[in-house]
């Protein structure tokens, strides 16, 4: 059974529909990368899985989210609360602001295991210190007593990861876990996440806009654009032979072997806002291969199977 299976997910906030047609599957021990530019719906996908859409006034409009056999779209808030932090851990984007500035970091991690595993104070503390050690934090017993402002960004991100792991979850969702960190620390955190998945046999949804991070760590990739999934597949397939022109352009943007004469590449234009989604294929105004059919007909995105691309000229033709 899949750890997480999302099928044809659509989200509505009041009467706008910022997310639609998202489908992917994730097995135990696998890492899926969800990539796309800002505003493509990556974080919204994560919020849907966590059941946090009500926080921003939204709801799941259609589709299913199945976690380890539990249909998440139909369970109550109380049941959801037990899953959040308990079986699904979320690693947030900005470690600088993800910790309560008034509490020492140790007790903040304790809270999670005390809530979900019914640990008493001493057990929770022992567990936290062990966990901090596992996350390669030096001198965990003294770090336990520090306040967030006494730590560096990379350290705080490890604490945030420790909080996500404190109740032994089966699924981790990391929403741009390295965006706020500097490059050397980014590499450490990404490597740490990869190791954790292997050691603990977790499933990880890694949300990022960095294609090179995906190439290093993920087993599968889903590419999103303007609130919808446009391509999905194994990481090697996607990088070796991208089917969708947008995926191809994204991969083309990865800088490598920079010399003084090479200019960094980008994709012309910007992601359209929710109110201005174009008709037909949403990428057509920025697509070099667009023809008339792209303006009129929405390309089909297979909800099943491991490889799919939503493009009229997908595979072969798009090459």
């Amino acid at each position: 059974m899949s750890m997480l299976r999302v099928q044809d997910l659509g989200v509505s906030i009041a009467n706008i529909y910022p997310l639609s047609g998202v489908s992917f599957e994730l097995e135990r021990g696998e890492i899926i990368g969800i990539v796309g530019e800002s505003g493509s719906g990556k974080s919204l996908t994560a919020m849907s899985v966590m059941g946090l859409l009500p926080l921003i006034g939204g709801q799941v409009d259609h589709g299913t989210i199945e976690f380890d056999g539990i249909e998440l779209t139909s369970i109550s808030e109380n049941q959801y609360r037990k899953l959040r932090g308990g079986r699904i851990g979320l690693i947030t984007q900005n470690p600088m602001t993800s910790l309560d500035p008034l509490k020492k970091i140790g007790p903040q991690v304790d809270d999670v295991s005390r809530l979900h595993l019914d640990h008493d104070k001493a057990q929770a503390k022992a567990r936290t210190i062990e966990l901090l050690g596992d996350l390669r934090i030096p001198e965990p017993a003294s770090i336990y007593h520090l306040y967030p402002h006494q730590m560096s960004g990379g350290m705080k991100q490890r604490i945030v990861i420790a909080m996500a792991l404190a109740a032994d979850p089966d699924l981790l969702i990391a929403d741009e876990p390295t965006t706020a960190l500097d490059v050397t620390v980014q590499a450490q955190i990404i490597r740490l996440l990869g190791d954790l998945v292997k050691q603990r046999n977790l499933s990880l949804v890694l949300i990022t806009h960095d294609m090179s991070v995906v190439a290093q760590t993920c087993d599968k990739v889903m590419v999103m654009y303007a609130g919808t999934a446009i391509e999905r597949g194994g990481v090697h397939d996607i990088f070796n032979s991208p089917s969708h022109p947008y995926t191809k352009a994204l991969i083309g943007c990865i800088p490598h072997g920079l010399s003084e004469t090479v200019r960094l590449k980008g994709i012309e234009g910007t992601v359209p806002g929710v109110a201005q989604y174009p008709s037909g294929c949403r990428f057509h105004p920025r697509c070099a291969l667009a023809e008339d059919i792209c303006k009129e007909t929405v390309p089909v995105f297979e909800t099943a199977g491991s490889r799919a691309a939503a493009c009229h000229f997908a595979l072969g033709t798009a090459q």
């Binding site: 946090l52 609360r81 979320l90 984007q93 500035p101 509490k103 809530l115």
Partner: protein
């Protein structure tokens, strides 16, 4: 070892209010006043209620260092006991408004929607009544006395703390760490009590401190009008009120309690300002 102690003390940022000359003097005076109020029975040379008509309106001197009033009671003893009344009434009242105001404000700020609108409308309504009128309502219901005064002061300041807390919570609930806590499965009660309220506390402490000063003035005002402490209970306001009758024959009866109110309120305000500086929250309190 010293650094460990300092590290621990740094947690009590409020103590930094004592680090300046003004904070030291104002804070020292307030601590002294608290001690005086607490140990009043051991400090006062005379009973506060015993009349000695033969020695009425005696000028300050020995043994009555602040003179006597129109019944021959020792003004100094009554001022000392008055501190007890003023401080306890004001502190109790503000304590009630802070607790109720924080709960209402936190709930309104956190849940929002219709609940917030109803709470804030009701609270704003209480703010639109003059304090004296609220006191009169309580006097009409439970009769004049310190209970009425306490409730009147508590209600007069409720709106301020409700609004302040609500504003803090609305700002804080969008912080990432709150979302992160919810992500980890925390209940709304845990989020509000363990994360939101502690983070909203600093400005409430300061405004509460300043409100205790205002509460002392309000208590004195109500006492002056005869709505507060009833004779023979000594209260600064009631003493000034009875002092007006012999303003020209025995001015000390009205001067000493008046000076006590003034100095106390000045000390409270100065110390409150130092607290603002110590807690580094000027923007949040004055908004």
């Amino acid at each position: 070892m010293t650094s460990a102690i300092l590290n621990r003390l740094s947690g009590f940022a409020a103590l930094r209010a004592f680090s300046s000359a003004i904070g030291m003097i104002a804070g020292g005076f307030l601590i002294l006043l608290l001690l005086v109020a607490f140990f009043a029975p051991w400090i006062t040379p005379f009973d506060v209620a015993t009349q000695n008509l033969a020695n009425a309106n005696a000028a300050p001197g020995w043994p009555h260092i602040m003179g006597t009033d129109e019944f021959g009671r020792d003004v100094f003893s009554r001022v000392v006991y008055g501190a007890r009344t003023s401080l306890s009434v004001s502190a109790t009242a503000i304590g009630i408004s802070v607790s109720v105001g924080m709960l209402l404000g936190a709930a309104a700020g956190y849940f929002g929607g219709m609940f917030e609108r109803i709470v804030m409308t009701v609270v704003d309504l209480t703010w639109s009544f003059p304090d004296i009128l609220i006191a009169l309502i309580f006097v009409a219901i439970i009769g004049p006395g310190l209970t009425s005064t306490t409730f009147a002061i508590a209600i007069a300041y409720l709106a301020q703390f409700t609004r302040l807390t609500r504003a803090q919570i609305v700002r804080l609930k969008n912080e990432t760490f709150v979302e992160a806590t919810i992500n980890l499965g925390a209940t709304p009660a845990h989020v509000v009590l363990r994360h939101l309220l502690p983070n909203a506390l600093a400005p409430v402490i300061v405004v509460g401190m300043l409100a205790v000063g205002d509460g002392i003035v309000l208590e004195a005002t109500l006492g002056f009008f005869g709505l507060g402490a009833q004779p023979p209970t000594p209260s600064w306001g009631a003493m000034m009120s009875s002092g007006t009758a012999q303003l020209f024959i025995a001015p000390w009866v009205i001067i000493y309690p008046g000076v006590a109110v003034a100095i106390t309120v000045i000390a409270v305000n100065l110390f409150g300002d130092e607290l603002v500086r110590a807690l580094d929250i000027r923007d949040r309190v004055r908004s």
